[in-house]
Symmetry: C2
Subunit: 331 residues, 2 copies
């Protein structure tokens, strides 16, 4: 096949110019690929993310509730913790969580590193302690060697553990969704119905909160802005962090990236389907009743936001040794 | 670099001849690589193995108790089932399980296919039913398409599900352990202490039961042959399958492949370390009290049996759709 290089270059330049202008005027931006990363920390953090020995039971790992086979969630209304305790809130996806302004629904952790230590020591989640988790890791020669290689010290500390997990989590971005391909200039990447959904999504004001690279994650908003949200869930959101009454029921706006995979929806997981979620959002946040057609268009658009899922070899964890504290699942 | 081909060929032939003669005279054989496999079934089975939607809770998958990051086990005395029920027996490793004469400690499943359906419908394990599990799979278009591609029919049935899981499990062999390298002629692959351990292992009679490719898995033997085994565990072994009183406390001899990773040991998981396990086996099965040195030699040998762990990309599971039956973790 004969390739006319100059013609292709011109075409490429023209596509890039046109897509750059599309991006500039859109409230949604394509996900940027990960640029700077500490790969040694990533590989260590991946092991820790999958290691159930960070829990008291030896059964629950980060991946149990942020399952990377399932959109970085557990697809449950609220999560299952130590001894099958029912969690208080829906597990948010770990995918693209590096794009969030803060972590947890109420933003109580400033960043991924601050977040990662929480569930390990939460009695309702992994139910360990930082001391015990460190004793476990420190007892395993393959871990002490790897921590030493990565962080340069003989003694493992919780800062290193959370730093490595956070660095791994930074790699969990999902570029290349069909919608991103459209934003980048491939006009055939989405259908007419999906485009109509996007236009409606902008027109009615969804993008007031669901904007940017992650279509969310960058502000706290009241759940039930126009009309109150009814739920038996006890979570009160941002007010628990700021102490301000005005922040009651303000939650971090969830990302809509990969939303087809991250069901069920809302902080209480009470919306089972995207159709339900769009309907409730229209009524409560925008004072708008979507028609069946409108709802279907928006749902069709939302399904274009599924990006390339993280792809990596399943990590093999170093074995415990005789001195390693044993799990206590039934104590 | 100049390579003398004929000389190398001769050397190779000589190594092969010498290793073939070693293998022929040893009670342990190196693990053969997987030869015939249905790759389409393997890829489907891998997804099913990792899919917690085969459980009632949506939280427990095959990989929960046969964790491929941890030697194909959960490293717990006995497993955690639906609603945190305490399992009756130690989860045997799924690694090299295709080499077993039968599955489960009591051999009640003839093969991997027969085994795979058990835990899904066991109320104490995944607590689903085959009907519900099939309804879940059948509702998900990506699964129905893949089952159709693999098995050629529109309707998914439990035979297909267990067949695909079993085919995936057949790939979970762990060749290339240092001991296999030694068997294949690399005399430097194990140390003097490890070789002394192997010689002792043969000499005292461990190989009467722990022999063949898997060093076990090919017979049922009484736990407590010379001296009774004391345990609060209720399992009675093979007699539950055959109905014969003579088969009480007969269990399938577990494989010793990857035994460093598959702690704790015995059907009740009561031996926390290899040192303990070797000590108990010596006393109860052989009527022999190993010295500290002997015990350490055997343990050193056992640690040479860790092979290449299965290496594969973490599977991405197809999302549920609106019609998919939802998990019921707290019902």
């Amino acid at each position: 096949m004969k390739i006319k290089t100059p013609a292709i270059s011109l075409l490429f330049a023209s596509v890039m110019a046109s897509s750059a202008s599309v991006i500039a005027t859109e409230p949604v931006q394509p996900i940027s690929p990960v640029k700077e990363i500490n790969l040694a920390q990533v590989e260590l953090g991946k092991k820790l993310f999958f290691d159930p020995r960070l829990s008291k039971s030896g059964f629950i790992s980060c991946n149990s509730c942020h399952n990377l086979s399932m959109g970085g969630t557990d697809n449950l209304k609220t999560s299952i913790g130590h001894k099958w305790q029912q969690g208080p809130i829906n597990s948010p996806t770990v995918l693209n969580s590096s794009l969030n302004i803060a972590q947890f629904w109420d933003g109580r952790a400033a960043d991924l590193k601050a977040q990662a230590g929480g569930p390990i020591a939460n009695p309702g989640e992994m139910a360990s302690t930082h001391t015990l988790a460190l004793d476990v890791l420190q007892s395993i020669p393959a871990y002490t060697t790897e921590f030493k290689q990565v962080f340069g010290s003989d003694k493992i500390n919780i800062e290193q553990v959370t730093q490595a997990i956070a660095e791994f989590e930074k790699t969990l971005v999902t570029p290349n969704s069909r919608f991103d391909q459209w934003l980048l200039g491939n006009k055939n990447a989405i259908t007419k119905q999906e485009l109509a959904g996007y236009n409606l999504f902008k027109q009615v004001g969804c993008t007031a909160c669901h904007n940017g690279e992650a279509l969310g994650g960058n502000s706290f908003q009241k759940m039930g802005l126009v009309k109150a949200y009814k739920t038996s869930n006890k979570a009160e959101g941002l007010s628990g962090v700021t102490g301000k009454d005005a922040d009651r029921f303000k939650f971090k706006v969830p990302t809509l990236r990969n939303v087809e995979m991250t069901y069920p929806y809302f902080h209480d997981g009470e919306a089972a389907t995207l159709t339900d979620a769009v309907d409730v959002m229209g009524k409560l946040q925008l004072g708008k009743q979507f028609s069946k057609t409108e709802n279907a268009q928006i749902v069709a658009f939302l399904k274009t936001l599924t990006g390339d899922q993280p792809s990596f070899l399943m990590p093999i964890l170093p074995a415990s040794v005789d001195e390693t504290p044993r799990p206590a699942p039934f104590e």
